[in-house]
Symmetry: C2
């Protein structure tokens, strides 16, 4: 009841390790862990700008700019000028980028399901619903998870 931090710290660490390993396994030296986060978020959003993705990930925009350039050079991400505002670049995944994102997604998802498979149906449902609940609560709380300005 008290030590909530421990739970989340360990969870986040373990998921991070799993994520990193999966990333290594499915896409070899193709993309780094942070780059995989970028692919993930571009895929998730609808015609996002650089700012939007960088903001969602809490990344410094200059660091982000360079990482996107790397991904674009590798042919995984495409930058399209916004039709109504040339300052803005719309980001999208190329077919190759999408393939990598999908590979990572399937691998991570399979690992997670493997872990959940040790539980009863009821427990599994409860765990999933709980995390959903917590994510929603986090989203609503503006005191946190808002990247610094």
């Amino acid at each position: 009841m008290e030590n909530v931090r421990n739970l989340f710290q360990i969870l986040a660490r373990n998921f991070g390790l799993l994520n990193e390993q999966c990333c290594d396994n499915c896409c070899g030296q193709e993309v780094s862990l942070v780059q995989s986060h970028i692919l993930y978020e571009i895929n998730r959003q609808h015609q996002p700008s650089m700012q939007e993705i960088a903001g969602a990930l809490g990344m410094d925009i200059t660091t982000f700019s360079r990482q996107v350039k790397t991904l674009a050079d590798k042919g995984f991400v495409k930058k399209t000028p916004h039709p109504a505002d040339n300052r803005i670049n719309i980001l999208s995944l190329t077919p190759e980028g999408l393939a990598i994102e999908n590979a990572i997604h399937l691998t991570v998802n399979a690992q997670l399901h493997g872990i959940l498979s040790t539980m009863s149906e009821f427990e599994k449902d409860t765990v999933i619903r709980s995390i959903q609940l917590f994510n929603d609560a986090m989203q609503k709380s503006d005191s946190c998870c808002v990247p610094p300005k």
Copy 2:
């Protein structure tokens, strides 16, 4: 039921942001995020060696060695040669290191409780129990969360 990855990806990301912000807020330029992870794990284990902490965090031992040196130079971590084996260094927090770790712990814990406070008692309990359950399942699963050899 299907898309478990999304849930964990977002959870881990948001907790990461929260963790980072807390770290900035309580200890200013004192320690970086990775260094805070090191303090956390040293505090958690009982007379740990370098290998044990680096292993738990999935960090490369050489990177870890340098980070520990930085922390030792700052006076937050102490390295004590193992009495029975001089190759091994036992790591421990200095009072200053412990103070920082405690400050981070309290801040993160408070934030998390703030988020949980928007839920009913029942929901709160369920969420906490669920994460406990999942962490245990992860620990048992040897297919993941085992840093690459």
